[in-house]
C-alpha cells in the first residue's frame, strides 16, 4: 500500500467512523439512556439498588456507576463494530480474501487496553472493599439472627442510646439516623442473607459464624429489604424493613420498648385474650412481664417446640408495622401508605404512633391465627416432623375457635 493509498484509506475510515458515530452511536446512546433510566424503571421501587440512602450504599453506588457506564460504552462499541463489519464485508462477489492469520501488535494492544481499564477499576474496588469492612468506627451494635423465616433483632445494652436492658424485637430493624450501626449477623438454622439495598449490600447470616454489616441512614424513613439467600419453603416471604428514626424519635422508641408490661383491664375481652395467650401462644412466644394466674412469670420455651429454638418475642408487638417475618402488614392498607409515604420529617412520629385499633389489619392477622401454615408455607404438619424430632419449622395450626381468635386480637392490640 502506497503512502497516498494509505492516507485515502485512513481518511475514508475516519469519515465512516464519524458517520457511524453520528448516525448510529449518538441516537443509540440517547435512546438507550432514556429508555433505561426514564422509561425502563419502576418509580419508587422500595428495593432499588441505584437509590442509595446512606453513606455505605452511596460508596457502592459511586463505585458502580462509572463501571456500568464503561461497560455500556464497551458493549455499544462491540455491537457497532460487529454490525459495521457485517455491512461492510458482506458478500458482494468480492474474491476470497487474503488468508491473514493475525496481527500480533494489534492483538496485544487490544488485550492491554481492557487490562488497563480493569486495573483502574480494581484500584477503586480495593478501596471500597476495605472501607466497607471497617468496624472500628462503630457507634451502635445490633445483633441480627436469621431463622426460618423471620429475623430477630437483639439490641445489647448501650447506655449512650438509653438502652439499659437488652431489647429483643423482630421483623423491623429500628435504628437512629446518622449513626454508624454495625449488625452482627448469625443464623439459628440455614443460611440467610440480610439486605437493605438503600443502606448497604447484602451479607449472609451463617449458622456458627458472626458476620458484620455496616448500616447508616442519612434521613428518617422506612427502607425495605428481603432475605436473599435461598432458605427453604418460605424464602420468598422472609422480608424485613429498616426503620431509621431521628435521634429523639429513636430515644422515644427505646423508652417504649423498655416500658413495663401493662396487663389488660379486668373483665375485658383483652383479658380473656391474655388467658388464651397463656394457654397457647406462650409455649413459644415471649411477652416480657407477662404473669401467669399464680403470679409466676410466663416464660416461653420455643426450644422445646421449634427447630431453630426461637419464636418472635411479641412484647410491644403493636409498635411494629408487620408480622410473620414481615410477610403481612399489621397496618391496614391505608394506614400503611400513610406511614410509608410520609415525608422524612414526620415519618418518625407516624411510625411511633404504632398500630391503633382503627388501623389494625384484622383480616391478615385473623387469617394467620386461624391457620398460619395455610397463609405462609411452613413445615408445620405434625405428621411430617419425625425427621426434626417433632419440632416445627414455622408456626403450626392451633385449632383456635373464632371466639378465641377475637379474644386474642383484642389482647394483642394492647401490646403497645
Amino acid at each position: 500500500m502506497s503512502r497516498r493509498q494509505f492516507d485515502n484509506w485512513l481518511r475514508a475510515t475516519i469519515a465512516s467512523v464519524r458517520v457511524v458515530l453520528r448516525k448510529v452511536f449518538k441516537p443509540l446512546v440517547v435512546v438507550a439512556g432514556v429508555s433505561v433510566v426514564v422509561a425502563g424503571c419502576a418509580t419508587n421501587a422500595p428495593q432499588d439498588t441505584w437509590q442509595p440512602k446512606g453513606p455505605n450504599s452511596k460508596l457502592i453506588d459511586d463505585l458502580q456507576q462509572p463501571v456500568f457506564a464503561v461497560a455500556g460504552i464497551i458493549g455499544l462499541i462491540v455491537a457497532v463494530a460487529v454490525i459495521y463489519t457485517m455491512i461492510k464485508y458482506r458478500d458482494r462477489g468480492q474474491p476470497i480474501p487474503e488468508q491473514i492469520h493475525g496481527k500480533p501488535a494489534l492483538e496485544i494492544t487490544l488485550t492491554v487496553i481492557p487490562a488497563l481499564i480493569l486495573a483502574v477499576v480494581s484500584v477503586f474496588t480495593f478501596g471500597a472493599i476495605f472501607k466497607l469492612a471497617k468496624t472500628d468506627d462503630t457507634q451502635m451494635i445490633i445483633n441480627v439472627t436469621g431463622q426460618q423465616w423471620w429475623w430477630e433483632y437483639d439490641y445489647p445494652a448501650q447506655n449512650e442510646f438509653g438502652i439499659t436492658q437488652p431489647i429483643i424485637t423482630s421483623g423491623q430493624l429500628v435504628m437512629p439516623v446518622g449513626t454508624k450501626v454495625l449488625l452482627r449477623e448469625t443464623s439459628r438454622d440455614v443460611i440467610h442473607s440480610y439486605w437493605i439495598p438503600a443502606l448497604n449490600g447484602k451479607r449472609d447470616a451463617v449458622p456458627g459464624r458472626v458476620h458484620t454489616l455496616r448500616l447508616e441512614a442519612d434521613k428518617p424513613g422506612i427502607y425495605a429489604g428481603q432475605c436473599t439467600e435461598f432458605c427453604g419453603l418460605s424464602h420468598a416471604n422472609m422480608r424485613m424493613e429498616a426503620v431509621a428514626l431521628s435521634k429523639e424519635d429513636f430515644a422515644k422508641w427505646v423508652a417504649n420498648q423498655q416500658a413495663p408490661y401493662v396487663a389488660p383491664a379486668k373483665e375485658t375481652l383483652a383479658q380473656q385474650g391474655e388467658e388464651v395467650f397463656l394457654n397457647q401462644c406462650v409455649r413459644c412466644h415471649q411477652v416480657n412481664g407477662l404473669m401467669r394466674a399464680d403470679g409466676t412469670p410466663a416464660i416461653a420455651a420455643p426450644d422445646e417446640n421449634v427447630w431453630s429454638g426461637a419464636a418472635p418475642n411479641l412484647s410491644h408487638l403493636m409498635s411494629r408495622n408487620t408480622f410473620a417475618g414481615a410477610m403481612f402488614d399489621l397496618l391496614s392498607k391505608q394506614c400503611r401508605d400513610e406511614v410509608w409515604n410520609a415525608p422524612s420529617e414526620v415519618v418518625g412520629a407516624k411510625y411511633l404512633a404504632g398500630v391503633t385499633e382503627e388501623c389494625l389489619n384484622q383480616k391478615d392477622l385473623r387469617a394467620w391465627l386461624r391457620n398460619a401454615p395455610e397463609v405462609k408455607p411452613m413445615y408445620a404438619n405434625p405428621a411430617d416432623l419425625a425427621v426434626s424430632n417433632g419440632k416445627y419449622r414455622g408456626m403450626p395450626y392451633l385449632a383456635l375457635s373464632e371466639d378465641d381468635i377475637t379474644k386474642l386480637v383484642a389482647y394483642l392490640i394492647t401490646l403497645k
Binding site: 425502563g40 424503571c41 419502576a42 418509580t43 419508587n44 421501587a45 422500595p46 428495593q47 432499588d48 439498588t49 441505584w50 457502592i60 463505585l63 463501571v67 461497560a71 464497551i74 458493549g75 462491540v78 455491537a79 463494530a81 460487529v82 457485517m86 464485508y89 458478500d91 474474491p95 487474503e98 491473514i100 493475525g102 492483538e107 488485550t111 480493569l118 474496588t125 480495593f126 472493599i129 466497607l132 469492612a133 438454622d189 440455614v190 443460611i191 442473607s193 439495598p197 448497604n200 449490600g201 447484602k202 451479607r203 451463617v206 456458627g208 459464624r209 425495605a224 428481603q226 436473599t228 432458605c231 427453604g232 419453603l233 424464602h235 420468598a236 416471604n237 408455607p377 425427621v387 426434626s388
Partner: protein, 661 residues
C-alpha cells in the same frame, strides 16, 4: 476385531485373544436397534448424546416455562412453594448437567476424531459406557419427581439447607447420587478425549495446527478432569451426611457450612467454562468458514482459552462475596475475576477481526455465531459489573445475576450449540437444515431471549431477589414500568423463545423427510471433518490425511498467489474425495461393538437406588457392575467368523468379516 476390508484382502490382521473368556460373545449387528445400543462408534454415540441432551433440553425448558408462568404476575398460583423450589433446582440441574454438558460431549465425540483425522476415540467401549452412564444418571435424577419430590435446595445445594432436616424428601439424595453417575460419565469421557487428542492426531497435525474446536474441547476435558473430582468429594460428603449420619456440615457438631460453598464453587466456576468453551470452539470454526478467512489470531484464541482454563480455578469465591469471607479474600477474588475478563475479551476481539476484511456469508450457522458475539458480550460485561465486589453485594442473588448468566449461557453456550447444529447437520445426517426456517428459528430465539432475560437486568437492579416462588406488589414499585410489567414481558419472551426452539425441532423433522442430499462440501469448509463423505463412513477416512497447514482442507482446495495473495481454487472437494477413494487403505481396523458398556452403566443407578431405599438392592447393583467388568475385561476382541453371516453393513464398498487367522 471386526475388520472393514477392501475387496482384495492381502495381509491378515493379528489380534488376540481369539477366544472369549466372558460369558457372551461380541455383538455383530450392523443394523437395527442393536447396532445403536451396543455400538462403540464415536459418531453414533455422538448422535445419541445429542438426541438425549436435546430431550433434556426440552424437559428443562418446560420447567423454565412453568417458572415464568408462576412469576408472570404477583402472588402466582401456578406452582406452590414446594414445587417451585423443586422446579428451579431441577431446571438448573437439567440445563447444566443434562443438556449443555452432554450436548458438548456429543459434539466432541462426533467431531474431535474427525477433526484430528482419527478413526475413533482411544477407548471406544469406555466412550459407550460414558454415554450410558450419562443417560442412566439423568433418568435417575428425574425419577425423584415420581418418588416423593425432586431436589429442592437449588442447584448450588447450600448446606445446611440440603441436610436431612431441612430437605426431608429423597429429592436431594437422588440429586447427589444422580450427579455422581453423570460425573463418572464426564470423567471417563474427559480421559478418553484427552488421550485421543494427544495420541491419535493425523500425521503432521501439530498441536498448533489443531482445529480450534478440538483445542477448546481439550481445554474443557482438562477442566472436567480436575473439577469433577471436587464435586464428587462434595457430593459424597453430602450423601454421607444424609444417608449415614455424618456431620460434615452440621453446625451443632462444629462444622462450618461454608466448606460446602468452597467445594461447590471450586467445581462450579470451572464448570461455567466447561459449559461455554465448547461453544467458543464451535463459533471459532463457523466464523472463519463463513468469512472465508482463517481465525484471526489463532494462537491468541488458543492461549486465551488455555488461560481461561487456568485462571478459571482462581475465581470461585466471587460466588461468595456476600458470604462473609473477609475483605482480603474478597479483594483477591475481585482482582482475579477482573483478570479472567481479559482472555475472554480477547476472544470477542478476535472473532470480530476474523469477520473484518472477509467475504461474509450469512447462513443460519453464521447468524447464530454472530449472535453469540454480541449477546455473550452483554453477559460478559454485566459479569464485570459484579467482579467489582462491593457492587456485587447489591447484585448477587437478584435477577440481575439471573440475567447475567442467561446471557452468558443462553446467549453464549446455547447459541453456539445451535450454530453447530446448522453448520454440522449436513455432515452428520447428510442433509441440509432448511435455511429459511433456520432464519425464523434464529430471530425468534434472539428476540425471545432478549425479551426474557433483558428485563431481568432491570428487575434485579431494582431489587427483585432470585429463587422466590412469588413476588409481592409491596416491593414492585410504581408507574407503568413496574415489576409487573417487566415480569410479564419476561414471561411472554420465554414463550417466544420456546416457539423459536420449536421451529428448530420442526426444521429437523422437515429436513429428515426431505429426500434431497447435502452436497459434499456445502459451506466450502476448512477443517478435516469435511474431507470425508456426508455422513462419514464408519471408518471416517479412506486414507488418514497428512496435515501440512492449519485449515488443511482449505489449503488442499485453494492455492495462494505469492505476490497478489489472490486465492485460486485448484481442486474441488469432490476431486479430493475421489483421490482418497482411489488410494483407500486396504486394512482398516475398527473396534467391535460390545454388550458390556450398557450393562456396566446400568449397574450404577441400581447401586445408588439401593443406597436410598435398601442396601440389598445396592448389592445387586454391585454384582451387575462386577459381572459386567468381568465380561468387559475378558471378552474376545472380535466375534467368531460364523457370527457374521448375513450381517454386512449397508455400505457397498465395505464388507465386514471376522478375521483372526
Amino acid at each position: 476385531m471386526a475388520i472393514i476390508e477392501r475387496p482384495a484382502p492381502t495381509l491378515p490382521a493379528i489380534v488376540t485373544p481369539t477366544t472369549t473368556y466372558g460369558v457372551l460373545k461380541r455383538p455383530v449387528s450392523a443394523t437395527g436397534w442393536r447396532s445403536w445400543v451396543f455400538t462403540v462408534d464415536h459418531k453414533k454415540l455422538g448422535i445419541m448424546y445429542g438426541a438425549t441432551a436435546m430431550f433434556f433440553f426440552i424437559v428443562g425448558g418446560v420447567e423454565a416455562l412453568l417458572i415464568r408462568l408462576q412469576l408472570a404476575a404477583p402472588n402466582g398460583k401456578v406452582l406452590n412453594a414446594d414445587l417451585y423450589n423443586q422446579m428451579f433446582t431441577m431446571h438448573a440441574t437439567t440445563m447444566v448437567f443434562l443438556f449443555v454438558m452432554p450436548m458438548a460431549a456429543g459434539f466432541a465425540n462426533y467431531f474431535v476424531p474427525l477433526q484430528i483425522g482419527a478413526r475413533d476415540v482411544a477407548f471406544p467401549r469406555l466412550n459407550a459406557f460414558g454415554f450410558w452412564a450419562f443417560l442412566f444418571g439423568g433418568i435417575f435424577l428425574n425419577m425423584a419427581w415420581f418418588l416423593g419430590g425432586a431436589a429442592d435446595g437449588g442447584w448450588f445445594m447450600y448446606a445446611p439447607n440440603s441436610g436431612p432436616v431441612f430437605s426431608p424428601t429423597n429429592g436431594v439424595d437422588f440429586w447427589a447420587l444422580g450427579l455422581q453417575i453423570t460425573g463418572i460419565a464426564s470423567l471417563t469421557g474427559a480421559i478418553n478425549l484427552i488421550i485421543t487428542v494427544l495420541n491419535m492426531r493425523a500425521p503432521g497435525m501439530s498441536l498448533m495446527r489443531m482445529p480450534i474446536f478440538t483445542w477448546m474441547i481439550t481445554v474443557v476435558q482438562f477442566l472436567l478432569l480436575f473439577a469433577v473430582p471436587v464435586i464428587t468429594v462434595a457430593l459424597f460428603l453430602l450423601s454421607f451426611q444424609r444417608n449415614f449420619g455424618a456431620q460434615f456440615f452440621d453446625v451443632a457438631a462444629g462444622a462450618d457450612p461454608l466448606l460446602w460453598q468452597h467445594l461447590f464453587w471450586i467445581f462450579g466456576h470451572p464448570e461455567v467454562y466447561i459449559l461455554i468453551l465448547p461453544s467458543f470452539g464451535i463459533v471459532s470454526e463457523v466464523l472463519p468458514v463463513f468469512s472465508r478467512k482463517p481465525l484471526f489470531g489463532y494462537p491468541f484464541v488458543v492461549f486465551s482459552g488455555a488461560a481461561i482454563g487456568f485462571v478459571g480455578w482462581g475465581v470461585w469465591a466471587h460466588h461468595m462475596f456476600a458470604s462473609g469471607l473477609g475483605p482480603v479474600s474478597v479483594a483477591v477474588f475481585s482482582l482475579t475475576t477482573m483478570a479472567i475478563a481479559v482472555p475472554t475479551g480477547v476472544k470477542i476481539i478476535n472473532w470480530t477481526l476474523t469477520m473484518w476484511g472477509g467475504k461474509l456469508w450469512f447462513t443460519t450457522a453464521m447468524k447464530f455465531a454472530i449472535g453469540l458475539i454480541v449477546l455473550f458480550t452483554v453477559g460478559g460485561l454485566s459479569g464485570v459489573t459484579h467482579a467489582v465486589a462491593p457492587s456485587d453485594t447489591q447484585q448477587t442473588d437478584t435477577y440481575y445475576i439471573v440475567a447475567h448468566f442467561h446471557y452468558v449461557l443462553f446467549g453464549g453456550a446455547v447459541l453456539g450449540i445451535f450454530s453447530g447444529f446448522y453448520y454440522w447437520w449436513p455432515k452428520v445426517f447428510g442433509k441440509m437444515l432448511n435455511e429459511k426456517l433456520g432464519s425464523w428459528n434464529f430471530w425468534l430465539m434472539v428476540i425471545g431471549l432478549n425479551l426474557t432475560f433483558g428485563p431481568m437486568h432491570i428487575l434485579g437492579l431494582q431489587g427483585q431477589p432470585r429463587r422466590m416462588y412469588q413476588w409481592t406488589e409491596a416491593r414492585a414499585g410504581e408507574g407503568f414500568f413496574n415489576f409487573a410489567f417487566w415480569n410479564l414481558v419476561a414471561s411472554i419472551g420465554s414463550f417466544i423463545l420456546a416457539v423459536g426452539i420449536l421451529l428448530f425441532l420442526i426444521n429437523v423433522v422437515i429436513t429428515a423427510r426431505n429426500p434431497q442430499k447435502a452436497p459434499l462440501d456445502p459451506w466450502n469448509a476448512r477443517s478435516l471433518e469435511w474431507m470425508t463423505t456426508n455422513p462419514p463412513k464408519e471408518h471416517n477416512f479412506d486414507v488418514i490425511p497428512t496435515v501440512h497447514h492449519l485449515d488443511d482442507f482449505f489449503h488442499q482446495k485453494y492455492e495462494e498467489d505469492a505476490t497478489t495473495h489472490i486465492m485460486t481454487q485448484v481442486r474441488t472437494a469432490e476431486e479430493i474425495m475421489a483421490e482418497q477413494e482411489r488410494n483407500a487403505e486396504k486394512h482398516i481396523h475398527m473396534p467391535s461393538p460390545s454388550y458390556w458398556p450398557i450393562v456396566l452403566a446400568f449397574g450404577l443407578p441400581v447401586i445408588t437406588f439401593g443406597l436410598i431405599y435398601s442396601h440389598l438392592i445396592s448389592v445387586i447393583g454391585g454384582v451387575i457392575v462386577l459381572f459386567a467388568a468381568y465380561g468387559w475385561a475378558l471378552e474376545s476382541s472380535t466375534a467368531p467368523d460364523s457370527d457374521f453371516e448375513n450381517n454386512s453393513p449397508g455400505s457397498g464398498l465395505d464388507k465386514v468379516t471376522a478375521n483372526h487367522d
